[in-house]
């Protein structure tokens, strides 16, 4: 059992399987491949956002502004599309990534150069970004009629049996897996989380690496801004309100330690899928969607308890608050 707990991914996969089996026992159609793919597609945006959040949490930071970043970039891109329907979609997506990364860089600069705790910085930018959505839109919505057919249609196009949105999630996951396990940047994200002081002595620039983490989470949030707006075909101030906590929930359930240094791409993906499966299963077994919030809250608490059992392996840290903070 203890070994199972250490392998969070296997444990989560079993938990997801259990939910699937339980629901399918009563409603056989739930586990049909078509429905499972729908659930995967529904969860794609959450998976991408959670991966971005993981990069930040690994460095002992947190990004509370991701949902607001998403809403702001989503609104900008939707308004651009409404005003200039001729602009090609790939260009719009590039624009989203750049704007999102820019907003993330703003967070990162404050954390890196001014040494302000990330939770304070992103608490502030969360309200600023969301307020800006209102300022640029004047409180108005951008709805389906104003968006171009390509803008809405791109992510719904089916490629090799899967919607393009799902392919986005798969591609993001692959990129993250390569960066996290195969590049110096990815390894230094982990190193900083495990021991910032030792990281300094090994030649890692802690502040700059945190900055990169925020740029990554910002860029992902920006891209998801387009995906969210085109998926739900509405851009408004309220888009993804409160979603920052769902993102963090997916990370925590996926085994990412809020104390930094622990977490894997597979775990985060499974954490997001777990939430996605629960959300899709509730209406099927006829439980009111109002239960959703309490259930994900309980899932987070259970996950934290499990995380804590796996993490009790910290060595002694001498000179805890030296150069690295």
């Amino acid at each position: 059992m203890n070994r199972l707990l250490k392998h969070r991914e296997i444990f989560l996969a079993l938990a997801i399987l259990l939910v699937l089996v339980l629901v399918t026992a009563r409603f056989p159609r739930f586990a049909q491949p078509g429905n499972l793919l729908t659930i995967f597609n529904d969860t794609s945006i959450l998976m991408m956002l959670a991966l971005g959040q993981m990069a930040v949490i690994l460095t002992r930071s947190i990004d509370l502004s991701m949902a607001a970043n998403l809403a702001l970039t989503g609104m900008i891109v939707a308004m651009t599309n409404a005003a200039f329907p001729g602009v090609p979609i790939p260009l719009l997506m590039a624009m989203c990534v750049v704007i999102g990364a820019g907003l993330g860089a703003f967070n990162g600069i404050l954390v890196w150069k001014l040494n302000i705790p990330p939770i304070v910085v992103t608490l502030g930018t969360l309200t600023i970004f969301r307020g800006l959505v209102f300022v640029i839109s004047g409180g108005a919505w951008v709805n389906a009629a104003q968006m171009s057919a390509d803008f809405i249609g791109l992510q719904r196009a089916v490629f090799l049996g899967l919607p393009v949105l799902s392919w986005f999630a798969i591609a993001t996951a692959l990129v993250f897996w390569v960066v996290m396990t195969r590049t110096p940047l990815g390894r230094s994200l982990y190193a900083i989380g495990v021991n910032p002081t030792a990281s300094v002595y090994t030649g890692i620039n802690v502040g700059r690496t945190k900055f990169y983490a925020f740029v990554i989470s910002g860029a992902v949030a920006g891209l998801c801004g387009y995906l969210w707006v085109s998926r739900y075909v509405i851009a408004s101030v309220e888009v993804a309100g409160g979603y920052e906590l769902t993102i963090i929930a997916a990370c925590v359930i996926g085994g990412v330690s809020i104390a930094g240094g622990i977490g894997s791409v597979a775990g985060v993906l499974l954490g997001a899928i777990f939430l996605g499966v629960i959300n899709n299963a509730l209406p099927v077994i006829n439980i009111s969607p109002f239960w959703q919030m309490a259930i994900s809250g309980t899932a987070i608490l259970l996950a934290v308890v499990l995380n804590a059992r796996g993490e009790r392996r910290k060595g002694r840290i001498i000179l805890k608050k030296a150069e690295a903070t």
Binding site: G131, L245, I258, S288, A294, G297, V304
Partner: protein, 331 residues
Amino acid sequence: MTDTTLHRSLPDRLDNPLKSAVLSWESLLVLVAVAIFILNSFASPYFLNAWSLSDLTFNFTEKALIALAMALLIISGEIDLSVAAIIALASTMMGLALQYGADTPTLVAVGIGVGILCGAFNGFLVTGLKLPSIVVTIGTMSLFRGIAFIILGDQSFKGYPPSFSWFGQGYVWWVISFELVLFLVCALIYWVLLHRTVFGRRIFAIGNNDVAAQFSGVRVDRIKFILFCLTGLMSGIAAVLLTARLGSTRPSIAEGFELEAITMVVLGGVSILGGAGSILGVVLAALIVGLVTFGLGLLNVPGIVMTIFTGSLLIVVIALPILFRMWRQRA
């Protein structure tokens, strides 16, 4: 950063008291508050009026009550993100009690009781199971508000008795509201508790180094547990005031309060890393947030735009002293 390490140790009157009082964070906050007050009175002809100023206080008292307890919690090195959800759950339970014919004292007792219970649950998870408070309270935040959603769904509770509404709408004397009086009394109690008692010194000790505090005989876990209960208690009180003021309960009540309460605490000079801060600062910060939002409201600025101001205020007020220090070091 040896600088911050030094800053976070506990100096006992090493500087000239007068000089440090003038240069303190609190005097900066007073200046900001006075500046905003003057700006407001120029910006709107309706501002300088006893009833306007009285309305102003309703803007921030409920959040500020929570901020008082939150300040102690953050100084001790923990945080509670679930306070707004506690308000939602406490308010829902009061509504439920109302359906069973509860009278005003019972309603108040239910609200405050639920608040304390929620706080104790947070405290147990953090101190009993040794879990990080930020994740725990993100979890309980969903859980508490989730229970409110399960009970209420898309419905709402209405029909609170007038004697109950007095808590949120009543005046003690002329324009002085009950909410304001309660806030001032609580602020005084918390000031004494933090700055004039052994308990308060222990909170600072824990925030600076909880291992050292433990070895000095401070019951770290017990104090942290009490602080979580206090935060729950204040959230329960805020739930009573807010429910009484609005006269109805919806599961989405008090959404976003946790961020505003934390903004007040941090703006008030409490270090988010723990170990430093003052109640006076928090009270001043609450006043500033209230002044800003009320002044902008008089100018017909929509609420969502105001959040840009509070968000920027939070970052700018924290960034400025750091930039100033960096500039001085370079010069």
